[in-house]
């Protein structure tokens, strides 16, 4: 028996080993997330084109279908020719506008011979800002041997939305726990308590945490003490989320996690489910035993 099992084990190892070996034979490469670029209204045009190159090759994912050098994919038009062909592509549309439109709304004009399959660069997954779109246009212009003509406007930068990491829910939680009924933040909310948009510039996150937990710790100047309710009903995780949100408004970084979030209420619910199923099963078991005894008695009788 052990001989058979040994044979089976060897056979298993050979099959798995062959697969692992096959995996080493295909081309090997590691792909890193795209680097974040910061574009401002004063960014130099040469730098802008360089940023555009990074976006085309990274975050934009353009090379999945296009090529910007001799070798590459040909599902979409050759990017090296894009800027040169732009003036004649769409009659009545200036070259720069056409290039911007082809990134923002690729379906608005599709080059003959290519399918309408390109996702808009301003939508996920690329989710480029206007500043980033213009940087790509600058790169296309340089790629075609020209000079970048695009200008970064303040509104282009203002709408820049970098890829978002795990979401902070602090603002929504301020609604949930009714903080906003008395306090205003970012232009919304009541005026009974102090305005909170800049509160984290004056106080550290730990101080803010202690204030919400126990309002009597300190009171803001010009406001009466004893008005704010004790925050012990707010789950620990939510407290950290709110403080993280306020800290982010002040340009500070504060991690909202680390405490029991999001499990503070979940634990109670979980316990309840466990209790219900256990008690239910015990009850059924007792009833079944009683039934069995009754049947046993009846059959003896």
């Amino acid at each position: 028996m052990s001989r058979t099992l040994a044979k089976i084990l060897v056979f298993t190892l050979v099959v798995i080993g062959a697969f692992a070996y096959l995996g080493q034979l295909v081309p090997q490469f590691v792909e890193h997330p795209p680097q974040k670029v910061v574009i401002t209204t004063t960014t130099d045009k040469a730098d802008l084109a360089e940023f555009g190159k990074k976006l085309v090759r990274g975050k934009g994912g353009c090379l999945v279908c296009h090529k910007d050098q001799e070798t590459g994919n040909e599902r979409g038009p050759d990017l090296r020719k894009a800027a040169a062909q732009a003036p004649s592509r769409k009659p009545g549309t200036a070259a720069e506008d056409y290039l911007i439109e082809s990134l923002k709304e690729p379906g608005a004009f599709v080059v003959d011979g290519y399918p309408n399959m390109m996702p808009a660069a301003v939508k996920p997954p690329a989710k480029m800002s206007m500043a980033e779109v213009k940087a790509v246009v600058a790169y296309l212009q340089v790629l075609a041997g020209g000079e970048p003509s695009v200008t970064i406007l303040p509104e282009d930068v203002a709408t820049a939305a970098a890829a978002t990491g795990p979401v902070h829910r602090g603002r929504a939680l301020m609604d949930t726990h009714a903080c906003i009924a008395c306090h205003s933040v970012a232009g919304e909310g009541g005026a009974i308590g102090p305005e909170l948009t800049t509160v984290a510039t004056r106080h550290e996150p730990a101080t803010l945490l202690s204030k919400i937990r126990q309002p009597s710790t300190w009171t803001a100047e010009g406001f009466p003490a004893g008005v704010m309710p004790v925050g012990d009903a707010i789950p620990e995780g939510d407290l950290h989320e709110i403080v993280a949100y306020l800290a982010s408004l002040a340009g500070k970084s504060y991690s909202a996690t680390g405490a029991t979030s999001p499990w503070s209420h979940e634990g109670l619910r979980l316990g309840l489910v466990i209790l219900i199923f256990n008690l239910g099963m015990l009850l059924v078991l007792v009833l079944a035993r009683r039934g069995e005894r009754a049947r046993g008695g009846a059959s003896h009788g």
Partner: protein
């Protein structure tokens, strides 16, 4: 001996068994919660925490994949068991009932391992990715609770199914089968809930620009949810069947008597039949999933099929191609124990040719790997005259023909010792040959025509090819059933008289199925690249990169090895346990009985 008609269907013994299961799950959940809460309050606050040595990504990957494999097993086995039980009830053949019972017995221990792995996964996720898990748990809050309730429900019905097996016989049998169906419905609901979370990460919907929830139902019913549900359901059945067949193969090779060999040979056949039966429609479910991925995001679709992940499909093709070989090899060897089946041997040469050519076509990469100098000489990454090599048109054609070949192998096996005697037998057989020929013609026609049309038109052709193959299989079976009614039997199947190497084909199938699950799991999760939620929530940890294919296959291989060792442990430990009734093996009649 139990007299079922005099016993109540659900005894306190059965209920005690169920309660043990409930208690086990309760303790595990409570301990996990305590562990997570305790560690989370001690560890420093962070969006990501780093696990030394192994790293977050691999630390989560291993238990996640193992949990998924065990979950597939515990969801696949009840489907396998209830199908077998129904066949037993319909045919009145006791051995089917025994087979179903033998596998259901594994459930209790397999559930425990699945739950332990699930708890490990949960703890690692919450502790290493607290911020992201916080976001997901907030988004899907009602479904977490539903999932826990479903777990308890699954434990209750599955344990009742097992502990009620002996008392729910005779007139209670239909209720026991209904309980088996309930186990599967409950398990399917569990699968669907968990799939909602993972598919949301792939193809998010139901959230606004700021990633806040707009509609929970939209978040659940995202683009890839239903295709993955169906794909996983079918895969679970195939996986359960393959593992059952591998178990039978071990027992066959270790058997000391002809009776044992006959029993386990038959068991291996039933397992492989269910595995192959569920495996044949899997590529079609895969097409659907692929189509939905493209519908959701062209970029994701192109990255998956033609971008950085394209090479993993070559590995997948090699695995599935090998699987087709093993399945046909097993059937052909099995035909050696069927009197009269040798009349089909002559077709095997043609079939192996189709399989070999199909394998070669399928596993051919899209383009050759060329050095910079070679590319410069060719004027691009593709050969100036030959162009692309492994294009989808040829691959689709190859896969469809391989599926049809495997189907034909099984049909020949099925007909091996039987000769139709109905008056319309000749016409019926000619019709069957005609539908297969038409299907082959359609598949080849669209395969060749695909080279002359744009890719968008070409994609639509795969639907015609798939429909032709599915249609031909359906018509063939529809004719075959009445055709073989009252057929003349040349001789009984000689169960147990099969070459030992056929058992290795069964092992091979089980290993390859498991490798496929690991590889496809990596592709499905990996195509999110540096996103937790594709295009919405970025992975900003140090592990956000896409690793090399070599590293990924090494990790998948390691996981598969661990899984096979664990499942072997479950089988070995369950075999040692004594249930109340004992384990008298069912006697398989060697003569006059047919597995069909």
């Amino acid at each position: 001996m139990i007299h079922p008609s005099s016993s109540p269907p659900v005894t306190p013994y059965a209920l005690k068994g169920v309660y043990k299961g409930i208690l086990k799950v309760s303790v595990m959940l409570a301990l996990t919660y305590a562990l997570i809460s305790g560690l989370a309050s001690i560890l420093p606050a962070a969006d990501y925490r780093e696990l030394p040595l192994l790293g977050n990504r691999v630390a989560v990957w291993i238990p996640a994949q193992l949990h998924l494999m065990f979950a597939a097993f515990v969801l696949g086995v009840p489907i396998f068991a209830v199908i077998t039980e129904i066949i037993g009830a319909v045919t009145k053949e006791r051995r089917y009932d025994e087979l179903a019972r033998e596998f259901t017995k594994l459930l209790a221990m397999a559930y425990t391992v699945t739950a332990v792995l699930g708890c490990m996964l949960l703890a690692l996720l919450v502790l290493l990715y607290p911020k992201f898990v916080g976001y997901m748990s907030e988004l899907f809050k009602p479904t977490w609770l539903l999932y826990i309730v479903l777990i308890f429900g699954e434990v209750i019905v599955a344990y009742l199914y097992w502990y009620g097996w002996d008392t729910m016989q005779g007139r209670y049998k239909k209720w026991h089968i209904a309980l088996g169906v309930l186990v599967n419905l409950w398990g399917t609901a569990l699968l669907f809930v968990a799939d909602a979370w993972v598919t949301f990460m792939m193809s998010p919907s139901g959230i606004d620009e700021a990633n806040h929830l707009v509609s929970l139902w939209d978040a659940v019913a995202n683009h890839t949810w239903m295709p993955i549900n169906i794909h996983r359901l079918l895969a679970n059945v195939a996986f359960g069947g393959a593992i059952a067949a591998a178990y039978a193969a071990v027992r066959f090779l270790n058997a000391s008597t002809d009776e044992e060999r006959a029993r386990f040979d038959w068991m291996g056949y039933v397992g492989s039949f269910i595995a192959i039966g569920a495996f044949i429609p899997l590529p079609f479910a895969g097409y659907w999933l692929g189509r939905e991925i493209y519908q959701f995001s062209e970029q994701m679709g192109v990255s998956m099929m033609g971008g950085s992940f394209a090479w993993l499909w070559i590995l997948q093709a090699s695995l599935i191609g090998s699987l087709f070989f093993a399945a046909n090899f097993y059937l052909w060897l099995g035909m050696g124990r069927i009197p009269g089946a040798n009349r089909y041997t002559k077709f095997q040469v043609l079939m192996i040719l189709v399989l070999a050519l199909g394998f070669l076509t399928w596993a051919t990469p899209r383009s050759i790997i060329a050095t910079g100098g070679e590319m410069a000489a060719m004027g691009g990454s593709h050969h100036p005259f030959l162009g692309l090599f492994g294009v989808m048109a040829a691959k689709n054609t190859a896969v469809n023909l391989m599926i049809l070949t495997t189907f034909m192998s099984f049909m020949m096996y099925r007909r091996g010792n039987r000769i139709p005697v109905v008056p319309w037998a000749t016409v019926g057989k000619a019709l069957q040959a005609l539908v297969v020929a038409v299907a082959v013609g359609i598949v080849l026609f669209y395969g060749v025509y695909s080279y002359f049309v744009p890719s968008l038109v070409r994609i639509g052709f795969s639907v015609y090819q798939v429909s032709a193959v599915l249609g031909a299989m359906a018509v063939f079976v529809a004719i075959d059933i009445p055709l073989l009614k009252g057929a003349r039997e040349i001789g009984a199947i000689q169960w147990g008289k099969i070459a030992p190497r056929a058992q290795y084909a069964l092992f091979f199938m089980a290993i390859v199925f498991t490798l496929l699950m690991g590889l496809m799991g990596y592709i499905r999760s990996g195509i999110r690249q540096y996103w937790h939620v594709y295009g919405r929530v970025a992975d900003e940890s140090a592990h956000a990169y896409t690793m090399s294919h070599g590293s990924a296959t090494l990790i998948v291989s390691g996981i598969v090895l661990v899984f096979l060792l664990l499942i072997a442990g479950v089988f070995a430990l369950t075999a040692r346990q004594k249930d109340k009734r004992g384990d008298a093996p069912a006697q398989v009649a060697l003569a006059g009985e047919d597995a069909r």
